[in-house]
């Protein structure tokens, strides 16, 4: 991940942009104005007709059909159907058994013992040693500190449960993903078949597949592992494929001319050379898995997601902050360890993988940058590398105290249960709550006024425009916008996606969700431009701002919901605020990188012409950084959409709320699933329009 961040982002994403012929002056602005004018007139005349708005409890035939399907599957599973009970049931049982075995080993009481098989001392020693073995001394110390922090924060068991789910999902990912990635790299046909599936997996909001998975696998660990798996597999497969493809053709030819077989070529040339890239893939996969393992608490997954959800239900900002902190620490630990592990292998062309980790609509990859960097920096160069034999002896020797620690932790209760006396979690939570309460009391009037300003001033009028236009007006307007901005390809995609949304029977709700996404994106971009320009122009601003952005990116998305809820109550605006918190960092960084990327000679030339700072920004730097800005908008839009869905839990309403409800009310199961499909369609539509627009504007 470090490698991904070490180079400026725009070029990396640029590779992903579809190629569009540069055409001089398309009069984009003029055409957009025409579309807008037609739309406004149509809206004024036909407002409120054919909006396809449906009541919350109203179901279409399609929703009922999905409900019936769910009932039949449940019944089939109960009656011992070979597939649902036999195949899926066995997978589910196996996963549950593995998880509960691991839990009894390290986190939950191994009945009839009152404590797990290995107590906290043993677990801490073992994990530290593993950190040392795979990544080195510094990451090992970080592991130790993090693991102890789990205990100090009072989330020992939940943290280890999260680790278990994450690690298990990543292991299965490697079992499936590595061979798949290899197959894709070797055969174009496999790649052609699998890539669209990966696209879909990444665009589908995690929230949408939780309910169907719970239907198949039952609630609990099995469903949690499977949804974490689905979410974290695509980055690994893509990066593996890319890593193997990036092995220079000359090297492969040289090897081939020596007469090696395909298998030898793979094992002895391609895999070793792509090794570092593949480890980066595992890193990405791990971070995605961790992020999803928290959300999986919605299907009753054990782990740190549970206290976060509980905090959301009891409006307990303190508890959310403390459990969020444990998740962040866990993320830092996993990231630093896997990064250090990858840096141990031969230095290869850095950053060759950057283009693969495209944040799909809901790829909530946790991005870590300038957090404790020392943890992964090896002192290579300063000291000679120890010989392999020496290392093995060293590892074997250091394992002796680990064994002693495990033994002791089985003997003494104080070494088995993390001592409650040093648990500072509750005090920390209390402190945060006291602060939040006084803060909320103090700014209550202001935040509400702000919420009302945005809601009445921007959100409601726009929602009226999008939601109350007849569908037969709205649909062509969207297609026209797609065509004007991106050309005929995104226009075709838009038509298809619109048809899907229409088919789900949730046209109106989709338009409401679209409104929220647009409003949030506008606000994200306003802030990102201000911050980004500041950061791009001034190193000092950058130094101060960047760590804050990094921290925001590390916090799992739905932890944001709790403070947003405390500040703004339950409303669409709350969901928008949470989405902004999630999307601003990535958009700001892209803008900042773009501004900095403007050639110094140009800036110098402009300066010598004697222009003001304002002119410099407006006339030189922003126009020159247009590509980065458009890309920032693209990414911001996608991040926002993924978060607006989760915002359904804090009053976001529309599609997100339907997904949440579908998950908790049987008669809404079908409707929730349909909402998931609609969100996916909306996501693909926005993604394609934004990408083609970015490609065009970037070159324009």
């Amino acid at each position: 991940m470090t490698a991904l961040q070490d180079r400026p982002a725009p070029p990396s994403v640029k590779e992903e942009q579809p190629y569009v012929d540069p055409v001089a002056n398309r009069h984009t602005g003029r055409w957009l104005a025409v579309v807008l004018a037609v739309w406004l007139v149509g809206w004024a005349v036909f407002k409120g007709q054919d909006t396809l708005a449906v009541g919350f409890q109203d179901l279409t035939a399609f929703h009922r059909w999905l409900n019936d399907l769910s009932d039949q599957i449940q019944l089939a599973a109960a009656q011992g159907n070979w597939f649902f009970d036999g195949v899926i049931g066995s997978i589910s049982d196996a996963l549950n058994a593995i998880v509960s075995w691991a839990q009894e080993l390290i986190s939950t009481p191994a009945f009839p013992r009152p404590v797990p098989e290995i107590g906290w001392l043993g677990v801490a020693a073992l994990l530290t040693w593993i950190g040392y073995a795979v990544a080195g001394l510094r990451p090992a110390l970080l592991v130790l500190a993090t693991v102890l922090a789990f205990g100090f924060l009072g989330y020992w068991q939940d943290s280890l449960d999260t680790l278990i789910i994450t690690v298990l999902a990543v292991l299965i990912c490697c079992l499936i993903g590595l061979p798949l990635g290899i197959a894709m790299a070797r055969r174009r046909s496999v790649s052609a078949v699998v890539t669209p599936v990966l696209d879909l997996m990444q665009t589908m909001p995690a929230f949408a597949y939780l309910a169907p998975l719970a239907l198949f696998f039952g609630i609990g660990s099995a469903a949690a592992v499977v949804c974490t798996l689905i979410y974290s597999l695509p980055p690994l497969v893509r990066i593996t494929e890319h890593g193997l493809r990036s092995v220079p053709g000359t090297t492969v030819e040289a090897a081939a001319s020596l007469g090696v077989s395909r298998g030898q070529l793979l094992r002895q040339v391609q895999l070793p050379m792509a090794r570092r890239t593949i480890v980066v893939g595992i890193n990405q996969c791990t971070m995605a898995a961790l992020s999803m393992a928290t959300i999986a608490a919605f299907v009753n997954s054990p782990g740190l997601g549970k206290p976060v959800i509980a905090a959301l239900q009891s409006l307990d900002v303190g508890a959310a902050a403390v459990s969020g902190m444990a998740i962040v620490l866990c993320a830092i630990m996993l990231d630093r360890t896997t990064t250090a592990a990858s840096e141990r292998s031969e230095k290869q062309s850095r950053g060759s993988v950057a283009s693969v980790g495209r944040p799909g609509v809901v790829l909530m990859t946790v991005v870590l940058e300038k957090l404790p960097r020392w943890a992964s920096e090896e002192q290579r160069g300063r000291r000679a590398r120890p010989s392999p034999l020496f290392r093995r002896v060293l590892l074997a020797l250091t394992f002796v105290p680990v064994l002693v620690a495990i033994y002791l932790s089985r003997q003494y209760l104080g070494l088995a249960n993390f001592p409650a006396s040093v648990n500072i979690g509750p005090q920390l939570a209390d402190a945060v709550n006291t602060f939040t309460n006084s803060f909320v009391d103090a700014v209550d009037t202001f935040t509400n006024a702000f919420k009302n300003l945005i809601s009445y001033g921007l959100l409601n009028p726009l929602q009226s425009l999008l939601g109350e236009s007849p569908w037969w007006l709205m649909a062509p307007v969207l297609v026209a916008v797609a065509f004007v901005l991106g050309g005929w390809r995104p226009a075709v995609v838009t038509v298809v996606c619109e048809a899907v949304i229409f088919g789900t029977g949730l046209w109106h709700d989709s338009m409401v969700t679209l409104t929220m996404t647009l409003v949030a994106t506008v606000m994200v971009m306003v802030i990102a431009m201000v911050l980004g320009v500041g950061m791009g122009r001034n190193r000092r601003v950058d130094t101060v701002t960047r760590p804050v952005l990094d921290t925001f990116q590390t916090i799992p998305p739905f932890v944001y919901l709790v403070p947003a809820l405390a500040l703004f109550g339950s409303s669409r605006f709350t969901a928008i605020v949470a989405a902004m918190a999630y999307a601003i960092p990535i958009a700001t960084k892209l803008v900042a990188d773009g501004i900095r990327g403007v050639s110094p000679t140009t800036v110098e030339a402009a300066r010598s012409a004697g222009i003001t700072a304002r002119q410099m920004i407006m006339k030189v730097q922003l126009p020159m950084a247009r590509e980065a800005t458009v890309l920032a908008t693209n990414q911001g839009l996608l991040y926002v959409l993924s978060m607006v869905v989760i915002g359904g839990m804090v009053g976001g309403g529309s599609l997100g709320y339907l997904v949440v409800s579908g998950f908790s009310q049987t008669q809404l199961f079908g409707k929730g699933l349909a909402a998931g499909i609609a969100i996916t369609a909306l996501g693909i539509m926005l993604d394609r329009i934004a990408r083609y627009t970015a490609a065009r504007m970037g070159r324009g």
Partner: protein, 323 residues
């Protein structure tokens, strides 16, 4: 070379980790193994209790769980699930009991009558009320607001940024039992249902409405500890008559008085676990439940601690459950 060294290291790590596991498995240990048969008699084993997202339920769950753990030696696990997911869990066998069920005639039909995977385990003894409530100051200032017929007169008061020009009716968790959308439609009320998201959100809204004298109309329910802090006033909807809520889309009457009950999975019922009888015998009055809930929600006591406190203060009532 990097490859081989890495592989070797990995192999070593695996060997060492397995050694640790083996050691852990056979390391004896003098930590006292807890008694499986503390209360003497049958072996209890696993006991999975569903925990639904409102405080009254949490109280019930932890009362049953605490007694099962300390008196019967069960290995109790609490599963945080929404109501219907809990039913599904019982059908699948991953959940053993729901200790406060609010009606759900559709689910009763599906799981108890048709699939026969869930069994009714008797009443809890608490009485449930669901309705629409206003904060005390509103009932004082607008005495006639307590009749649904006057709600449209006051609709303007309840407008918010979320209610699209209509009055706002604030609902709770999306999983709660509710007919509110249908009621608003069928009673021709000029209101829009807006979801607050949770019990805590509703309570927070009532507190803030009373403090700032802001209008609020919201879905709420009893048994509910919050009534000891604030005497909310219920708005009377057209009176409930048996059968008037048969079609969820055509409901135009108040919520029925609920006799809350308990459920166990068929599989658990037949398992012979002593916890089956505990669940069947478990009863609790609204007042007792509110005592525990207040400790949990208001005094931020750990549910386990709150349950322990009540159990120790009421040994005779607990003995009734263990008969």
């Amino acid at each position: 070379m990097g490859m081989t060294r890495g592989t070797r290291r990995l192999r070593l790590a695996v060997v060492a980790a397995s050694a640790a596991v083996v050691l852990a498995a056979c390391g004896g240990g003098n930590i006292k193994e807890s008694d499986t048969s503390a209360a003497g008699g049958k072996d209890c084993g696993d006991f999975n209790i569903a925990v639904n997202p409102w405080t009254g339920y949490v109280s019930n769950a932890h009362l049953v769980g605490y007694v099962a753990k300390t008196k019967l030696g069960c290995k109790v696990a609490y599963q945080d699930v929404k109501e219907e997911v809990g039913w599904q869990g019982m059908a699948k066998g991953s959940i053993d009991t729901i200790v406060e069920n609010w009606g759900h005639p559709d689910l009763v039909k599906k799981y108890i009558d048709e699939q026969k995977t869930v069994v009714d385990a008797g009443l809890t003894g608490s009485n449930g009320i669901i309705g629409w409530y206003v904060p005390p100051w509103m009932a004082e200032k607008y005495p006639d607001i307590t009749s649904w017929k006057n709600l449209n007169k006051y609709a303007d008061l309840f407008k918010t940024s979320e209610s699209g020009g209509k009055g706002q009716l604030l609902d709770g968790d999306p999983s709660y039992v509710t007919n509110d959308e249908a009621l608003v439609k069928n009673l021709n009320l000029d209101y829009k249902v807006v979801t607050g998201g949770s019990e805590a959100a509703l309570i927070q809204s009532f507190r803030s409405a009373e403090k700032n004298k802001k209008p609020l109309l919201a879905y709420f329910y009893e048994p509910q500890w919050f009534f000891s802090e604030m005497k909310l006033v219920k708005v009377n909807l057209p009176p409930y008559k048996p059968g008037c809520d048969a079609d969820p889309e055509k409901v135009a009457c108040d919520y029925p008085p609920y006799k809350l009950n308990k459920l166990i999975s068929k599989k658990f019922d037949e398992s012979g676990s002593p916890a089956v009888d505990l669940v069947k015998n478990f009863t609790i009055s609204n007042d007792d439940q509110n005592l525990v809930s207040t400790d949990i929600a208001e005094k931020k006591m750990d549910p386990e601690e709150a349950a322990k406190k009540w159990v120790e203060a009421n040994p005779d009532k607990v003995d009734e459950w263990l008969k």
